[in-house]
Assembly symmetry: C2
Homo-oligomer: 322 residues x 2
């Protein structure tokens, strides 16, 4: 372990975020000591990002720091948990204080609005790898799980879909549709590098939703996890998928597979019993009903008239050209 590197992160970080009352002992001992309020349980998730697998070697360290924490916060969002604490295991090929400072700045950018505190970590020498574990708090037995969807529940997603996938497609395939202007690319790149974890919304839907997941692998894949765990099927109307102004510039046969098959948006997909849905829609939540849970297994795509559509979106963004 390199104390100096972790100290650098810690020192820089402590200036950028506030200390929580429920941390009895923070960084600097063999363990951190944390207090979980009675009546609450703890939601825990760990995610690793590896250079060349989850991010490009030339990614800005600030964006990397931000996204490393944001994708974990997204897991807390999917349970409806309130962010509380996180730890960081950082493996670095060399000591670069400027890189570390920018990385920490990005981390803080995600941490500060979430009121989540860095409570421990480990810095090691080796190929660039980032493991973050997040801890959130939630009232006992109230967490949103993947296995709670019921027949007739409406299916919702937050924000817009396919944006991050479009930015990734440009990078991987040198894709450059004529309709896109520089401002479109800026927006899409921002969506890829700085996704917005929906932990506030996750907590807001707790009283209404029956199941939830965050969209990291693509809508169809992740909704598929809900269906599998809940032993149900679903029908989706692709025309109702929320698309950004940039993505709407594309023809449907390009943008719909992106919206359904590409990951990295880190929006939420969740189900709501019909009797709760009307109430939920009265709030100003930026959520969109895209379909319904069915008894019949599998996932069908239908248009407004009920006609089955045949868009091969399961294969995702990397299987079709412009």
């Amino acid at each position: 372990m390199s104390l100096s590197e972790f100290s650098l992160i810690e020192n820089y970080f402590s200036k950028l975020t506030s200390a929580r009352q429920d941390v009895s002992l923070g960084i600097g001992d063999d363990c951190a000591l944390l207090q979980c309020p009675s009546g609450k349980e703890m939601a825990v998730s760990i995610d690793t990002l590896v250079e060349g697998v989850h991010f490009f070697a030339d990614v800005s360290p600030k964006a990397l720091g931000y996204k490393s924490l944001a994708v974990n916060l997204s897991d807390l969002a999917a349970m409806g948990a309130e962010p509380a604490w996180f730890t960081l295991a950082l493996t670095l090929p060399e000591h670069k204080p400027d890189w570390l400072r920018a990385f920490t700045e990005g981390l803080s950018l995600a941490a500060k609005p979430a009121n989540i505190q860095l409570v421990g970590g480990d810095t090691t020498r080796g190929p660039l790898t980032i493991s973050i574990q997040v801890h959130g708090l939630i009232d006992k037995r109230r967490a949103l799980r993947r296995d709670g969807a019921n027949i007739g529940d409406r299916i919702y997603v937050t924000g817009t879909l396919g944006d991050a996938g479009a930015a990734l497609k440009r990078r991987l395939e040198n894709w450059s549709p004529e309709v896109f202007e520089e401002t479109d690319w800026q927006y899409l790149q921002q969506r890829l590098e700085y996704p917005t974890p929906r932990y506030q919304l996750g907590q807001q839907i707790l009283d209404y939703a029956s199941s939830a997941i965050d969209i990291s692998d693509g809508l169809l894949a992740d909704l598929g996890h809900i269906l599998e765990r809940s032993h149900k099927g679903a029908v989706i109307n692709p025309a109702q998928l929320p698309l950004s102004a940039s993505l709407k510039k594309l023809p449907q046969e390009i943008c719909l597979p992106l919206a359904m098959g590409s990951g990295d948006d880190y929006e939420l997909c969740f189900t709501v019993p019909a009797e709760h849905a009307d109430k939920l829609e009265q709030f100003d939540l930026n959520i969109h009903c895209i379909g319904e849970i069915t008894a019949e297994k599998g996932l069908r795509l239908v248009d407004e008239t009920g006609k089955e559509m045949n868009i091969d979106a399961r294969k995702g963004y990397d299987h079709f050209g412009t």
Copy 2:
């Protein structure tokens, strides 16, 4: 994430360990859900092991799995916490089911006696890296910290010191003292690959100890952390360091620096107020008093007569020959 690899670990693992009552939701959702009993707080630590830095490329996967968890359990031991849950972030260069099975077997070997449950994880493709985060439970405000040592406290260590360092020295320097037989090497290698985390003892000394740390970087370095945090000094009698029968075969000028300077033993070093020490020594705990906390800063080595000794052990095992 490769579901198949993590599923393999999970499936194999669940057969080898039992499920805890305080796990509301285990592996398979966005987060695990864990219950911390009221009156307890949670001790949390994360450690990363990187191939070529923390272990040799040819290490047996079973030993690697064992040690990855054992070194984290040792952090819980140092706080006096009871092991409860852990997560695993595993980055692997390729899919090798046999390797994974052996690795998981080693993990279980450490997990089962500790009654610690695997509650989440992530498997990614990349250079072999293992991050484990452990969670332990401890009564509020009772954890052993590094900053509690007081003047006159006796200093104790568990087990024997320098064994793992000797095995490492053989590997790094082709070191082969004539006095060692094959059984000595087997013992020393076992100590390096399968260290015994002292979490039971950590809980047993809670009523008596004023501070504690685990010895991962060497006695002098780790005791140094206690002294630094507690703003105290210490005097140690090297003749009182507990040595294994194998290490005792070596002349003092070889074995003492190993016992004081080499890491990887994962024994505990802790301090006990004199009024508690006699009581503690009545139990059969395999602990050894090696010195005393002093007002005078720094760490001095003295023999039985009080004469200062001049063994340059701070430089550790890799600076002297046979």
